[in-house]
């Protein structure tokens, strides 16, 4: 597909990189010639220097004939105007990033009146990710599907877990409803079989009802207890989205922010939250703020390195759970994974949403892609499809399907009925099917089958 992107910042760069891998033709517009030059060297894209909300520039970028237009400049207003103009010029679908909390209620208006097909807000989505981490205390990350009815949960097997040395078949004996989809052990990821054995430090992707997941987290060595307090460093935009749901859950929150004005603004908006002005990387200062006494430490500053250092220090001080915002995920690979719990990458869920939209509109077959997420394991993806009558997967029970290695059917949602797939279950037309796949790049349900 032909895709025009305005804005070559963190999100714009991630979009260009990921969409080129998906095989699309990208045109990038940015004002800064130096940034454009750097991106042109690195990525196989066409670049244009100019103002992305000017009609001439958009025409030069062939917006009138493009399939998807995405505007992700730092300014919300520019994004909305650019996306609206692009739609009027004839772009197939237009997407704008709008992250200012003051526009939070205007999204439907932009959608209906300006013809902007999708509005993305990475900050709000990151905040939602963090809140989910509070809801599943044991999980490293949670990927919701089907409006939160199905949650794909990632858990780390702790060193003192009872599950160590047990095979998957034994786990299924103890907890029948749990389904283990993927095991990442060291640098290796695999789709497990019944005979696979869990080791300390493994990262597992599981699906199942809440009770089963809670029972399994206990086996993995995570005590089931609710978090009741959090220390947050960084009081910028994400905090505005994060604090209200945390406060609703009755969690005690303290925010540390280095900039006095930002701190004052936040304190004024949330009078019930303690906002401290100070440097979140100063260890003595953190001890003075009783870091060790908090259940959760959340790092949300704009500097990845600071966030990571803070999380490592919190871990060392004995904080049970750390949530760290990291834009460059590759940085985390330099560190011992056991010292970091939950990593949040703001642009990831936005790019996932856009990739899902684009993949589902490349009409290759009838089954439509309804949900898409890249998992923390390198190369692993979770995809939700609606099965159609014409799909070959609906013709026989799962045990008779010849599924390509690296793919698993994780979950079936039939109407309101949730089905944990077993060998005898059969996919029917209209079912919502969740697939987890490793290094496959699938676009349709039938692509999990051997041809």
């Amino acid at each position: 597909m032909e895709i025009v992107i305005v804005g070559g910042g963190k999100l714009g760069y991630a979009l260009c990189r990921d969409l080129v891998i998906e095989g699309h033709e990208i045109v990038l517009i940015d004002r800064d010639p130096i940034r454009i030059e750097a991106l042109q060297e690195e990525l196989d894209i066409r670049c244009i220097v100019g103002n992305g909300s000017a009609r001439d520039v958009l025409i030069e970028a062939d917006v009138p004939s493009c399939d998807v237009f995405i505007s992700v400049t730092p300014a919300d207003e520019t994004n909305v105007i650019a996306a609206a103009i692009a739609k009027k010029l004839g772009a197939g679908f237009s997407i704008a990033r709008v992250r200012g909390p003051e526009y939070a209620h205007d999204l439907d208006f932009f959608h209906n009146e300006f013809g902007i097909g999708m509005l993305i807000n990475p900050d709000a989505e990151s905040a939602a990710d963090i809140v989910r981490a509070f809801d599943y205390p044991a999980a490293s990350s949670i990927e919701p599907f089907e409006n939160g009815k199905v949650n794909l949960v990632t858990l780390r097997v702790r060193d003192d877990a009872q599950v160590i040395g047990k095979s998957l078949a034994e786990v299924r004996m103890l907890i029948p409803d749990i389904l283990l989809l993927l095991i990442e052990s060291g640098q290796q990821a695999m789709v497990p079989s019944g005979a696979s054995v869990l080791k300390a430090g493994d990262l597992v992707q599981v699906l199942g009802p809440r009770t089963a997941i809670d029972a399994f987290s206990k086996l993995c060595g995570h005590p089931n207890r609710k978090w009741s307090s959090a220390l947050v460093i960084g009081g910028k935009r994400i905090s505005y989205y994060l604090l209200p749901p945390l406060l609703r859950r009755g969690i005690q929150v303290k925010v540390i922010e280095v900039d006095r004005d930002t701190a004052n603004k936040l304190a004024a908006a949330f009078p019930q939250v303690k906002v401290i002005i100070g440097d979140g990387t100063n260890q003595r200062f953190l001890q003075e703020q009783h870091l060790a006494n908090y259940d959760v430490a959340v790092a949300l500053t704009n500097i990845d390195e600071e966030n990571l250092m803070f999380a490592l220090f919190a871990h060392q001080q004995g904080v049970r759970k750390t949530i760290t915002k990291v834009n460059r995920r590759e940085l985390t690979r330099l560190l011992d994974p056991r010292s970091l719990n939950t990593i949040i990458t703001p642009h990831l869920s936005s790019t996932d949403a856009i990739i899902r939209y684009i993949r589902s509109h490349e009409k290759r077959s009838s089954s439509s892609l309804e949900g898409y997420a890249r998992l923390s394991t390198e190369g692993a993806e979770a995809l939700a499809f609606i099965a159609q009558e014409t799909d070959r997967v609906t013709r026989m029970p799962i045990k008779d399907l010849t599924i390509k290695p690296g793919n698993v059917i994780g979950h079936i949602l039939r109407g309101e009925e949730q089905i944990v797939p077993s060998g005898s279950s059969q996919i029917q037309a209209g079912d919502r099917v969740l697939i987890v796949s490793l290094n496959q790049h699938i676009h349709t349900l039938d692509e999990i089958l051997k041809t």
């Binding site: 033709e25 060297e41 990525l43 066409r46």
Partner: protein, 482 residues
């Protein structure tokens, strides 16, 4: 530097080269040529394939490929493909090794200078075809082949495109390097096909039409008759080739823009205005000096336009011996040789775009002297030219002059007059092929010393790749590990 990857890609290119010799071999069979010729092509193909296989047999450990690797690959590719491409000449025509190398380098660099022109009647047709076919291959470059074997090259292809595309500026037509290069090659091939058809319609035999079209498309212009295009004595053919040379001297991006109906962008291009202006002024000035020699205005215009178009596009086909023309016309032709045609074409030389920027820089400097505080940006194609682009264009001229002088000094060791040394350098460094008084229209270099011929081979590659890649290839720092 990732030498493994360079070795691997070089091997793939040699494998492709062996396939590219296939048409010549088939032609040899079709004309039932002597067994020795067929065997020599078969042997060349085998040697090229074996070398290629040995080099690309082992996959490189990492696929890392950056600017440095691309430049070294392009420079090495030109040297090694030209060297292996010399095998058919060496094995079948009885030419000496140096002569065979000279002919092959001259072909791949689209120069069109020849040491075999005195033996043209005795050369088998398959070899003549191969000789002109190398012009065609060299015209567009190696990237198109690299893309076919390594479709996942992605943005790294951009470095290669930069290293081998003539001219200071270049625009990607499409988002992907691979689709851009395929479009460019499509344009190149279809224009060549159209030219072949037009020549055939003018009564030129098929074989000659194809070879003339190759020579024009690559702006190389290998002759296969001693008196070049004048051999046909056909005004239609002369006009078609003259226009063809001018068109192949234009940026290929124009033809793409025309195909997608963006005529305005073409008409507004500053480089096009300069290009057409230079041709027009040269034709008028030369006509003033030579009109007395002609009976009819039409035939004079044809000869003058043909010569201007031929020299400016660095093709060097001829219809007339211009040596008796007044000296000032020689100076104009020399100037045209220096400048060459437009960037993004197959021609060589400095390129019209660079000349335009030089002239503008001079004007800018003068304005700055008159009023030191005045803001004087250089606008080119409606956009301000950055300091960096301006600098790189100015430096290119200096590098070019330095290389020119060094080559002149070295070649003058073996030549009798200054002007023959001078024209030998300009003929090879600018990939023109024909010189001025040394050679005249027949342009035969066979009398030169072997050492001079080898230096001229180097000069031709320097010219085709716009100097820097070759300098970088031979710089010791390129080969250091860190």
């Amino acid at each position: 530097m990732n030498t493994g990857m360079i070795r691997y890609m070089l091997g793939k290119l040699l494998l492709i080269l062996s396939v590219l010799m296939l048409p010549s071999l088939i032609l040899g069979f079709a004309y039932s040529e002597p067994r020795q010729v067929l065997l020599s092509f078969l042997a060349s193909m085998a040697i090229s394939a074996i070398l290629g296989y040995l080099l690309s047999f082992r996959k490189p450990k990492t696929q890392d490929f950056y600017s440095q690797e691309s430049i070294v690959l392009v420079a090495l590719a030109w040297f090694s493909l030209s060297a292996v491409g010399a095998l058919p000449f060496y094995l079948s025509s009885g030419a000496s090794l140096v002569d065979a190398l000279f002919e092959s380098f001259s072909g791949f660099t689209t120069t069109g200078a020849s040491v075999l022109s005195h033996t043209l009647d005795s050369l088998p047709r398959s070899l003549l075809f191969w000789r002109s076919f190398t012009l065609m291959i060299g015209g567009m470059g190696m990237l198109v082949f690299i893309i076919q074997v390594l479709p996942n090259l992605g943005s790294h292809g951009l470095y290669i495109m930069r290293a081998e595309m003539p001219g200071p500026n270049f625009g990607k037509l499409e988002s992907k390097v691979s689709s851009s290069i395929n479009i460019l090659y499509g344009i190149y091939l279809s224009m060549t096909a159209v030219l072949t058809l037009l020549l055939r319609l003018g009564g030129v035999p098929w074989f000659d039409s194809v070879l003339l079209a190759f020579g024009t498309a690559g702006t190389g212009g290998f002759n296969f008759y001693p008196n070049s295009v004048a051999h046909y004595g056909n005004p239609y053919v002369e006009v078609v080739i003259a226009i063809g040379m001018m068109v192949f001297g234009m940026s290929y991006i124009f033809f793409y823009l025309i195909a997608i109906r963006k005529y305005r962008q073409v008409l507004r291009s500053e480089e096009l205005h300069w290009y057409l202006g230079i041709i027009l002024v040269s034709v008028v000035l030369i006509s003033i000096g030579v009109y007395q020699r002609y009976d009819s205005f039409g035939s004079m215009l044809r000869d003058v336009f043909f010569t201007v178009s031929s020299v400016n596009s660095t093709t060097a086909y001829t219809t007339v011996d211009f040596r008796p023309w007044p000296v000032y016309t020689h100076v104009i032709l020399l100037f045209l040789m220096f400048v060459g045609a437009m960037s993004g074409s197959t021609s060589s030389g400095l390129k019209v775009a660079r000349l335009a920027v030089f002239v503008k820089s001079i004007r800018q400097e003068m304005r700055r002297m008159v009023s030191p505080d005045r803001a004087v940006p250089i606008n080119y194609d409606g956009k301000e030219l950055s300091q960096r682009e301006q600098r790189s264009i100015a430096f290119y001229l200096m590098t070019y002059l330095a290389v020119f002088l060094i080559l002149l000094a070295v070649i003058s060791l073996d030549t009798k007059t200054f002007s023959s040394a001078f024209s030998a350098v300009i003929a090879t460094l600018n990939n023109v092929g024909g010189g001025l008084d040394l050679l005249g229209p027949s342009m035969d270099y066979s009398a030169l010393h072997d050492r001079t011929k080898l230096i001229m081979c180097l000069a031709m590659v320097l010219g085709r790749l716009e100097i820097y890649p070759v300098l970088i290839l031979f710089a010791p720092s390129t080969w250091r590990k860190v």
